[in-house]
């Protein structure tokens, strides 16, 4: 069996990528399983999807703790300890990162055990579908290619099947197919060996919990307004940057920000709270002076 784990953010097509992967494997004659996992969070929040591909029936269920292939669609997740992107990886795990940084730099910066495969699929997405962070097609193509065993024609058929349900126009579908082809050809194939079916598979054991008094579970909120402790800044794929020399302090951005992440300072100029800004970019769209620039978040380093 090959176990593939995909990481990205809500709205980036990570779930669809896992579906395309699973369907492509199925078309190529494998048994396949794919599913996403996310909490009560939305567009921008970290999500994980999984695919299992096997020559035999897949009886294993649940989240994949030790993936053979790790596909990271959004590099910013690597700096977020809560997203646990690299959890369960070993030196043999094949890691793919959507990044503009070269592979050795990525290995060093994120302290990875092995050299990751790197490709700027956002650049490809921008080129073909004009949406740099809709990664479903490109990420699936990369996954299929890394895994090997599955031909391009199966991948393209899977994309037609899966995106056919997404109400795309004929043009959009054709562009997605071109995108898949280029992404497929730009990464090397590893023709990974299938692990034995029961490899690393163990029976679950009973966990006995210590007895605690009921009062321990009474909900207590210790401070009002403490939601601010949760940082949502890492949801952002693009960053709004105010050019103060062009800003006339009209406060439209402050009025329009749904999160209340923009405040007016003592000089009546807006200041963005990047710890919480989710990157909806309403401020940049609404600014009458066009003084807010949109910059793609690559990672927290340059």
């Amino acid at each position: 069996m090959l176990r593939i784990r995909l990481h990205g953010r809500g709205g980036q097509g990570i779930k669809t990528a896992s579906q395309i992967l699973g369907t492509a494997a199925h078309l190529a004659g494998f048994q396949a399983q794919d599913f996403p996992l996310y909490g009560a969070e939305r567009r921008g929040a970290p999500i994980t999807a999984y695919a299992r591909v096997s020559k035999n029936i897949v009886l294993e269920r649940g989240a994949i703790a030790q993936p053979d292939i790790l596909l990271i669609g959004d590099e910013t997740l690597l700096s977020d300890p809560l997203a646990s992107v690299t959890e369960g990886t070993e030196s043999s795990t094949l890691i793919f990162i959507n990044s503009r940084h070269p592979s050795p730099d990525l290995k060093k910066h994120y302290q990875l055990e092995s050299l990751p495969v790197q490709l700027d699929i956002s650049g490809l997405c921008q080129k073909y579908i004009q949406k740099p962070m809709i990664l479903s097609t490109a990420l699936a193509a990369v996954g299929v290619r890394l895994m090997g065993h599955i031909g391009l024609h199966h991948l393209l058929k899977a994309i037609r099947d899966e995106l056919g349900q997404e109400r795309l126009s004929a043009d959009q579908l054709a562009n997605n197919l071109k995108l898949a082809e280029e992404a497929f050809q730009k990464v090397p194939s590893f023709d990974l060996e299938f692990r034995k079916f029961d490899d690393g598979f163990s029976a679950s054991h009973l966990v006995v919990l210590e007895r605690r008094p009921p009062v321990d579970s009474v909900p207590v909120i210790f401070a009002t307004g403490n939601m601010a402790l949760r940082k949502t800044g890492n949801w952002r794929t693009h960053r709004p940057v105010i050019h103060y020399e062009e800003c006339n302090g009209c406060a439209i951005c402050y009025a329009r920000c749904p999160e209340g992440d923009i405040r007016m300072d003592a000089n009546e100029k807006p200041v963005i709270d990047y710890d919480h800004c989710k990157g909806c970019l309403i401020c940049a769209t609404e600014c009458p002076k066009h003084a807010i620039e949109i910059i793609r978040e690559v990672a927290s380093w340059n």
Partner: protein
Amino acid sequence: MTASILDSVEESKYKKVTDLNPQEEIAPGSALCAGCGGLEGMRLAMKVLGEDTLICNAAGCFTLISVYPFTPLKGSWLYTSMSGPVPAAQGARDALDIRMAKHGLDQKENMQVMVVAGDGATYDMGLSPTSAAIHRNLDFIYFCYDNEAYGNTGFQQSGSSPLGSYTMTSPSTLDHPAGSERSKKDLFGIWMAHNPPYLATVSPREPIDLSNKFKKAKDMKGPRLFICLSPCPTGWGFDPKETHLIAKLAVDTGIFPIKEFVNGKVIHTKRPRKRLPVEKYLERQKRFKHLFEPERRDDIIAQIQNNVDTYWEQYDE
């Protein structure tokens, strides 16, 4: 309302965005989608209402406003089932009143009770208890963030889903090309028939109008109701940065009339001077895409346009 109160309301009217309360009453960090139009509406409302507000929140998208052990609010938050926020508001109101009358609770501890509910809870499940509460003249504010479907569960059709919109349970098919085949319920009309002291529609795109309406309602007693059109990037299918553009088009096309009902009269507070054709609003959203592709459905678009025109004919000067 006495003349003196009316005067003071008039004096303190919000005129520009810098008049808004600079204090944020909803802390950031909630798990709501980026670009949520409903959150923007509630943020602006809370800026006027302040922290002495007790929120009774029906299950829905805004479940995510407060996720234990975190809250973005300074006041209290009571979470209820989809049909239960108004009975909860009755309980909270009664408890405050009884404690103040009989158990020495200081008047300063009094709170404004506000229901916050989505359109599923408002138009469908919670309509009957709301009707009863308005009839009992319950002293509360009702804030409905209306994104025209059950957004929290993946965008299923509600009583608020407009004609021609695609939802997960009303897709466009050969037999049902329009998707949702019914116009949205006229909730404003239903509430108006109860003759409440105050009733208004608001848009996050119009912060001054919204703030003035909440300011006016804050000092009144009895049921005061707000419908806030809440553009939903996730469910409606547009880029989050266009939330306000969509909200603006809803007003400019006349699809969402901004109005209030006070002293038995309907007043349009933001009247589009010349209405744009409805397709300007429709064509930007994926939920109406089937009206334009693979072939243009002029019949359905004309029907939507006709509904809008018929509405405004009633109020033509």
